[in-house]
């Protein structure tokens, strides 16, 4: 393998990694905070992409890429909070909440996917990228859109980390995740924080959708594959810290890029899932995890 090939593999691994980090964030924070697995996460990704298309694209409202992205992310926050209200809250504190919400969030995913189909039709769409062309940096050739994506995601991840660690609301979310009952005794509105957490997860999923929609074609089921990858990331990384799934996302991105080069696109999912099963067996708390459940 020559150097340009290696660089291009690492580069596509990095691009995948940032996307996976975005997708995994929402899954991980919902899991640690509400203790459930949200199967509608993939549908959130698709909905974010379609909303951004609707707001931004010249063929629809034509507000432009960035306005479309911001409005889509804001709308996904609200949609996420509403989904939590309708599909998760009724089962709060129920003994079988994990199982019940597997069913309700799967149902939610189906409903959202069908709505996307009804509203926007099955025809392939693509979000017009923010920037055309490519940038050249020594041996690195990168599509401008990809560079924008990497930069925005990096900023977003730092902002999320800062939010969780340094702001009162972020601190409250971590507290509720670690000890629901003590949080109530400290005057924290657990129900409100659950809805906000779900909204935040959906908003970040929506942002991932915007990026995917501008580098690939969109379809109502475009979130299915990302959901699987995010699951692999969360399991590989563990959820002990916010950063665990970020590291795991980059690891998975790079492994996927190498695996695609060496064993091909077809076998890559098998490689990833094989790795995931291996980690589940030898280190069930995740590669970067401690046993404790906390953010």
């Amino acid at each position: 393998m020559d150097l340009p090939t290696l660089i291009s593999i690492l580069q596509s691994g990095l691009a995948l990694g940032v996307l996976y980090a975005l997708m995994a964030f929402g899954l991980a924070i919902v899991w640690t905070t509400l203790g459930i697995f949200n199967f509608a996460h993939g549908a959130f990704i698709a909905a974010g992409a379609y909303l951004a298309w609707q707001f931004g694209n010249a063929a629809a409202f034509g507000l432009g890429y960035w306005a479309g992205a911001v409005l889509a992310v804001a709308a996904m926050f609200v949609i996420g909070a509403v989904v939590q209200l309708l599909l998760v809250r009724p089962f709060e504190r129920h003994r079988d909440i994990v199982l019940l919400t597997v069913i309700t969030t799967l149902a939610g995913a189906t409903i959202i996917t069908n709505l996307l189909n009804v509203i926007w039709g099955p025809r392939m769409k693509q979000i017009e990228p923010a920037l055309d062309g490519e940038i050249v940096f020594g041996l690195v050739h990168m599509r401008s859109q990809e560079a924008v994506m990497i930069a925005v995601v990096a900023v977003t991840l730092f902002a999320l980390g800062w939010f969780l660690l340094r702001t009162p609301l972020g601190r409250s979310m971590r507290a509720v995740a670690q000890n629901r009952e003590a949080a109530q005794l400290m005057g924290l509105d657990v129900r409100l924080l659950y809805a906000l957490t779900f909204g935040l997860a959906a908003a970040v999923a929506g942002l991932a959708g915007v990026f995917i929609g501008s580098i690939r074609f969109m379809s109502p089921t475009m979130g299915d594959d990302p959901l699987q990858k995010a699951l692999v990331v969360v399991i590989l990384g563990g959820v002990a810290r916010f950063t665990s799934s970020v590291y795991a996302a980059f690891a998975v991105g790079i492994i996927e890029a190498f695996s695609t080069y060496f064993v091909g696109l077809y076998w890559t999912p098998a490689v990833l899932f094989g790795l995931m099963i291996l980690v589940l067996i030898v280190k069930p708390e995740g590669l970067f995890g401690r046993r404790q459940r906390s953010v």
């Binding site: 971590r174 670690q178 000890n179 009952e181 400290m186 005057g187 657990v190 404790q292 906390s294």
Partner: protein
């Protein structure tokens, strides 16, 4: 004197088990009401249903400064001024000690960040928590210090009434002595306290009045020395304890 916290006809059962049965009590401003009783007599359950964390009473009324609060949600009850510690040292393990307490100050909605941070530091000082350990993750602290973090968090809510559930359990005699001094300091500052405790010398030393539960019912109440000597109380303890 007007009661700060008053309960009337409080009851809670789990299936066929009556954990708290028709309990009435009132605690006056600045008073320490001790609560004793054998294991499983319903003491912690009483605190649970007073705070609605994690569950509410089946029946009964709770009045805070004369106003009913049992219709409020748990976080509202905390903000209104009912603070409580758990029997097990229950903290936010990956948050630092100061962040644990800061959260309570913020939860009580008393001013901006600077005011909350000051209130949190003050509460930790009051509890006697070492200033050098403020930034240590609470989960890594020894039991005694975790208890202090829990008490400081409750104090940071600036409560009307403080419910302490076995603050001395699993502590050494020296540590129990420090808890005793802390409670007396709070009493000196005018705090109203409900204290559940198995360590009887501690309980009788700080309580103005004592009530004893057995199988969820109130079997005795009054001045500590008299209650301790009550034959029904002795039988409840010796007859069935542990």
């Amino acid at each position: 004197m007007a009661a700060v916290l008053e309960a009337r006809g409080l009851s809670k059962s789990f299936g066929g088990l009556q954990a708290v049965a028709d309990i009435d009590f009132a605690v006056a401003e600045g008073e320490v009401l001790g609560i004793a009783g054998p294991n499983g007599s319903g003491k912690s359950t009483l605190f649970n249903i007073l705070t609605k964390v994690p569950f509410a009473a089946d029946r009964g009324t709770v009045l805070l400064d004369g106003r009913p609060i049992q219709g409020r949600r748990p976080h509202e009850i905390a903000r209104l001024g009912v603070a409580r510690t758990f029997q097990r040292e229950s903290v936010f393990p990956s948050l630092s000690a100061i962040d644990n307490v800061l959260l309570a100050a913020e939860g009580a909605r008393r001013g901006g960040f600077a005011a909350c941070l000051a209130a949190a530091e003050q509460a930790l000082d009051l509890a006697g928590f070492p200033a050098t350990l403020h930034n240590m993750p609470a989960g890594q602290l020894p039991v005694f210090l975790r208890k202090l973090v829990m008490i400081a968090s409750a104090l940071a809510l600036q409560p009307r009434v403080l419910l302490l559930d076995e603050p001395a359990s699993s502590l050494t005699p020296q540590e129990i002595e420090r808890i005793r001094a802390l409670i007396l300091k709070l009493v000196g500052a005018g705090m109203t306290i409900l204290l559940i405790e198995h360590v009887l010398p501690l309980l009788t030393a700080v309580s103005d009045r004592l009530m004893v539960l057995d199988h969820g019912t109130l079997i005795a109440s009054g001045r500590p020395a008299e209650v301790i000597a009550d034959p029904a109380v002795i039988e409840a303890y010796l007859g069935r304890e542990r």
